[in-house]
């Protein structure tokens, strides 16, 4: 399994109102995986399990071939993490943030951090709590990229970013994996970002993995189908998120069932956003 940088095997974790069940997926070295799913699907919980900030009940997580439970420090120091909200104390200035990080990461690279800070034009004198959302993300990203991390984990990094900052982020991620050594796992609601740069996609739905694999496969395996009349059986049972309205019905259908569609139906390739929307409408 040396080619795998991250392996989750049947990870379970339950809270009072919510449970992750048998979450399994793998991410090979040198690739980007998009992690998508409706709000509350379990993306952040899964990420917290990988980062070791919450304990799993069963199942295993291996990062760089190490068990994240038995070697949490070795694992954590080689992961760069970016969260959707600032993880540094708001009163710190750039150089103070760096001083903290330097103590935490044995592999800390000051020059690298300065290079990114310059590139992103992070202000020196402003307290980081006063940074704009885009600046805060860039600060976290600079930190994540400055200790020779081999795995970047980003939780909703594009949330609240303007299109320019989003594009910059995607550029950095492409750049990061170009060498073939680093991998990226990023959760997002902005599925257009995933559609463009992700190599692999994991779709989480109600705490379970609904799909995991190559993004191109996902986008070829499902189609959005529509018809003025209801879909006949047994096709109807194969429909995901079927909804009928007086003006017609629509659903997601695996592409290998398209041949059974009545002639008056229309279909188009499903985008990831379509899949999420239809899944939320009642797919299991």
């Amino acid at each position: 399994m040396s080619g795998m940088i991250l392996t989750l095997d049947k990870v379970c974790k339950s809270y009072r109102n919510f449970a992750l069940r048998d979450v399994s997926f793998t991410l090979p070295r040198g690739y980007i995986m998009g992690f998508v799913g409706e709000n509350g699907a379990g993306k952040t919980t899964t990420i917290r399990c990988i980062l070791g900030s919450t304990r799993t009940e069963s199942g295993s997580i291996s990062v760089f071939g190490k068990d994240s439970r038995t070697e949490p420090v070795a694992v954590r120091s080689r992961i760069g993490a970016v969260y959707d909200t600032l993880m540094f104390a708001g009163h710190l200035r750039l150089s103070e943030v760096e001083a903290h990080l330097r103590r935490f990461y044995p592999e800390w690279d000051s020059r690298q951090f300065r290079t990114f800070a310059d590139r992103f034009r992070l202000p020196e004198k402003t307290k980081c709590g006063k940074y704009s959302r885009g600046m805060q993300m860039k600060l976290m990203l600079s930190a994540a990229l400055s200790h020779h991390a081999e795995l970047l984990i980003l939780d909703e990094p594009t949330a609240g970013l303007d299109p320019v900052a989003r594009d910059e982020l995607l550029e950095i991620l492409s750049e990061y994996i170009a060498g073939g050594e680093g991998s990226v796992l990023f959760s997002t609601h902005i599925t257009a970002d995933v559609e463009r740069i992700a190599d692999y996609v994991t779709v989480l739905h109600k705490g379970r993995v609904w799909f995991t694999g190559a993004k191109d496969d996902l986008m070829e395996e499902y189609a959005v189908v529509q018809r003025g009349e209801p879909f006949p059986q047994p096709l109807r049972d194969a429909c995901i998120g079927l909804h009928d309205t007086p003006s017609g019905c629509a659903a997601i259908l695996p592409t290998d069932r398209l041949t059974e569609l009545p002639k008056d139906a229309i279909f188009e390739p499903a985008k990831i956003e379509d899949l999420l929307v239809y899944l939320a409408k009642g797919g299991e």
Partner: protein, 130 residues
């Protein structure tokens, strides 16, 4: 090599890139032996996935447009005239099929279709474009 991607196109990214590389090879803009960027470089330049880029190079290699040399990278393959001919023929057939379908839809019979084809040939020959 120039690649322009349409994000809002219905044509998937991989076919857009494949089609552009193919046409640049066929037109001679990318001559035989030209080295293409590495898979990871191209993915980064276009901000598309590495897996998609790998597929693009594999498809074009299988079709005979590219040649990969272990340890060196991907190059434009020597021009294979049989391959070119086959491609042209298949393009001709699909164009013809579309023409016939359109003609039949507007009620043309066999004779009318034949006549239209002959008129087209005569017209093109007259203007000297074939």
């Amino acid at each position: 090599m120039k690649i322009l991607l349409k994000n809002r196109s219905d044509v998937p990214i991989y076919s857009q890139v494949e089609e552009q590389i193919r046409s640049q090879i066929l037109s001679g803009e990318l001559p035989e032996g030209t080295q293409l960027p590495s898979i990871r470089q191209l993915a980064r330049d276009l901000k598309i996935s590495v897996v998609t880029t790998t597929r693009i190079y594999n498809d074009l290699t299988e079709e005979g447009f590219l040649q990969s040399v272990a340890g060196k990278g991907c190059f434009v393959a020597p021009r294979d005239n049989d391959l070119l001919r086959e491609r042209m023929l298949s393009e001709m057939e699909s164009g013809l099929e579309q023409a016939v379908r359109c003609g039949v839809k507007c009620g043309m019979d066999d004779q009318a279709l034949h006549d239209a084809l002959q008129t087209m040939i005569d017209g093109l020959r007259e203007e000297g474009s074939i």
